[in-house]
């Protein structure tokens, strides 16, 4: 399980490899907040390599989104598999996030 952060122009792109769960969500939170401190405004989290997100992982996404918006930035998501999409729909978080089907489309959308 690991988080990879890279810059595509002015967009901070995070890849979540494996799972985003109670045991590692703080690590993701810290990494993204560090980028926010360094002035990042546009954030994309790519879940193409993510098998699972638990409710605490969803919670971290919500609070990151709020913090980024408070700094005038935005957090977008890409590549949710069907099960993950269902979790976002059940919790209505699909109404809170802009979710793209592919990384490219997400990058273009900013």
């Amino acid at each position: 399980m690991s988080f990879t952060i890279e810059k595509q122009g002015d967009i901070v792109v995070v890849d979540v490899e494996g799972q985003l769960i109670v045991g590692n969500r703080q690590e993701l939170k810290q990494k993204v907040l560090d980028e926010l401190d360094r002035g990042g405004k546009k954030f994309l989290i790519d879940f193409s390599q993510t098998g699972y997100i638990d409710s605490s992982g969803l919670g971290v996404l919500v609070s990151l989104s709020k913090k980024i918006r408070e700094q005038g930035g935005e957090l977008r998501l890409a590549n949710l598999n069907d099960d993950l999409k269902t979790l976002f729909e059940l919790t209505k978080l699909d109404t809170l996030f802009q979710i793209a089907d592919t990384r490219d489309r997400a990058l273009e959308s900013f």
């Binding site: 109670v22 699972y52 638990d54």
Partner: protein, 159 residues
């Protein structure tokens, strides 16, 4: 194309139907450590697969509900106290799956604790989606006290 003669392989024996599991039950204990959640969830998902539950019921409903129940038992019930254990009991039949998660905490009131996280006033909260997902993905979620705080979840087979 040849049209004479039997189909290739037509004279072979039909495949033997394998053994067909009709009930599986497991009891286990785990430490109050969230790193153990995956191994337990995997075991229960495999039981559901062996009883030929629909793949999505195994991969989504069982996985999510059990993961959330175990997190709550470890974090809320046992407060991650390494002296305290979580017990898991499962029974899977062709009709239904029952999973009980037992922690050493004081228990809680499901109705009070289950707050709808999709409502506008809650949607920005970081916490409070676990019980909601359990209730959404299982047919029944109950809580009772019996040598600890027991959360019992039932999923009927929907094919």
């Amino acid at each position: 194309m040849e049209s004479n003669g039997p189909m290739p392989g037509a004279d072979r024996h039909p495949p033997v139907p394998g053994p067909h599991q009709t009930r599986a039950a497991v009891e286990l204990e785990m430490p109050s450590d969230v790193r153990c959640i995956d191994a337990v969830v995997d075991l229960v998902m495999r039981q559901c697969q062996a009883l030929r539950y629909p793949p999505r019921a195994c991969a989504l409903n069982v996985r999510v509900a059990l993961t959330e129940a175990l997190s709550n038992a470890i974090l809320r019930g046992n407060d991650e106290n390494p002296e305290k254990r979580v017990c898991v009991r499962t029974e899977v039949t062709p009709e239904r799956l029952v999973v009980e998660v037992v922690d050493e905490g004081a228990g809680f009131d499901i109705c009070e604790c289950l707050v709808d996280p999709t409502r506008p006033e809650n949607i920005y909260r970081e916490e409070g989606r676990g019980l909601f997902l359990m209730a959404a993905l299982m047919d029944r979620v109950e809580r009772y006290t019996d040598h600890g705080n027991v959360v019992r979840m039932t999923l009927r087979r929907h094919d």
